[in-house]
Amino acid sequence: MSQIEEVSLDKFKHLVSERALTGETMLLNMGPQHPSTHGVLRLLLELDGEIIVNCIPDVGYLHTGIEKNMEAKTYQKAEVMTDRLDYMNTIGNNLAYVMAVEKLVDLDVPVRAQGLRVILTELQRIASHLVWLGTSGLDLAAMSMFLYCFREREQILDIFELVSGQRMMTTYFRPGGVWRDVPVEFEKAVRDFIKIFPKRVDEYESLLTKNPLFLDRMLGIGKLSKEVALSYGVTGPTLRASGVDWDLRKVRPYIGYEQYDFNVPVLTEGDTYARYLVRVQELRESMKIVEQALNKLPLGPVRSENRKFVPPPRSEIGVSMESLIHHFKLWTEGFPAPKASIYNAVESPRGELGLLLEGDGGPKPLRVHLRTPSFDNLAVLSQIVKGHLVADLVAILSSIDIVLGDIDR
């Protein structure tokens, strides 16, 4: 609904064309509460009929102050904030954060924990892409798509719940490993999912990929060239659909991605259809990674033994005085990190999720900056929607797959 009808032109004078000032083009306010803005994004549209002349995104309606809040918490406690950042990719955010902390304090992670991290991160990627597929189906009024995708997503959330007790905000990864080992049912749950999921992806594709109406809505819409994309800092599937082969999992492997055999889908057209295809292929690739990682998953500890940074297991606390002290120190005071700055990036479902973490020698970070992919991906929107129709805006917006929590932080 357009709630703020009175668009005061003064603030946007320099952004709209001259025709808007004479009233020849219409200013339309889309959002912040609108069914297809995927959250609380406000778009100020300058329309000539139904053709978009200018599109001015207005973000910040979900500004949460996460960066500021993280500065006020110790390294362990700040992690819960990252879950709520990009709420479609909670586990990926945790991963980015714990990796940054590990890098800052130089902490090593056991192999089994790495394997678990890969499995869960990739499952999360699938879940995130499923939400994208479902909501972009909904945006094009293919409402069944939404319900089918959420059916599969439910299964992934059940796996998350199994390992962490929470469906979305798991905070399962901790600096130095994961919270605790997975239960025995975990393997079966994941295998079940692996078994049915590829068939389901085929089903989705049969509903959309060759559907003439869908093709008509998608083909050639919202073309994003490689140069523009790079200049705007666009990353992730959106960038790969524009012909840039850049996936941090491949080019700078972390948590053992180098061991797995998977492809990075790259298309060159850069339109909404290419972005759709890239993500659908990524669903299958992620599935491959999950399967390999599950097969390779070794036994062993899931947490680092470095007691300065990682709390001891519960069982030790009652027996060992030293463990009790460590536990107490870690949860009351936290661990100190060096006075230095690191930047760590991982590949989130939306692109490069970077974390600039600067310690000041104490137990709380001096500065946490979250380089969130949606922020830059959205910035390019005003460039690619020009000359398209309002209906295309909806398709384009869903194709770049933004999450407002990711943008506004």
Binding site: K11, H14, L15, V59, G60, H63, G65, E67, K68, N69, A72, K103, L104, D106, V228, L230, S231, Y232, G233, T235, V244, W246, V251, R252, A340, S341, I342, Y343, A345, E352, G354, L356, E358, L366, R367, H369, R371, F375, D376, A379, V380, D408, R409
Partner: protein, 170 residues
Amino acid sequence: MDKKLEPIVKAIQDKFGAAYEEFRDEVHLFVNAEQIVDALTLLRDEQNFELLSALTAVDYYPQETPRFHVVYQLTSLAKNLSVQIRVPVNGSSPKVPTATRVYSAANWRERELLDMFGIEFDGHPDPRRILSPEDMEGHPLRKDFPLGYEEPQFTFNFDEIDLRKPYAKE
């Protein structure tokens, strides 16, 4: 430091007299505010740093000179390299020339810094707040800006807080 990065760092150091710092294989170069646009242009055009990964700032309050570091995290896709440029900025009227003409991504990021730190960017095409409400005062991510902590309501202090809690009316 990565072998491939060495000549690049050398070139920047020679040209801009940049200080240099390394931590866990990450390279930080310190460039003056006046030279930052040239440095970025050079890195983008001659060294293939196509992607401005991050543009942010760090507040070292109460230290005043420099109070802020504006951080440019650059990535080269062609060479698979990363480098961080830092621009020290003083606390009184922090100003940096805009990098919008080099990287379009800088547009929103610089607006964010204007909003969050009050760092102004000379020549920015659209200097408005981006995340906070327009009528907000202060810059939240500065260290002297309070977190805005409100006391949580528990059973023991329920009534006390209830009295001053601004409940909405119908």
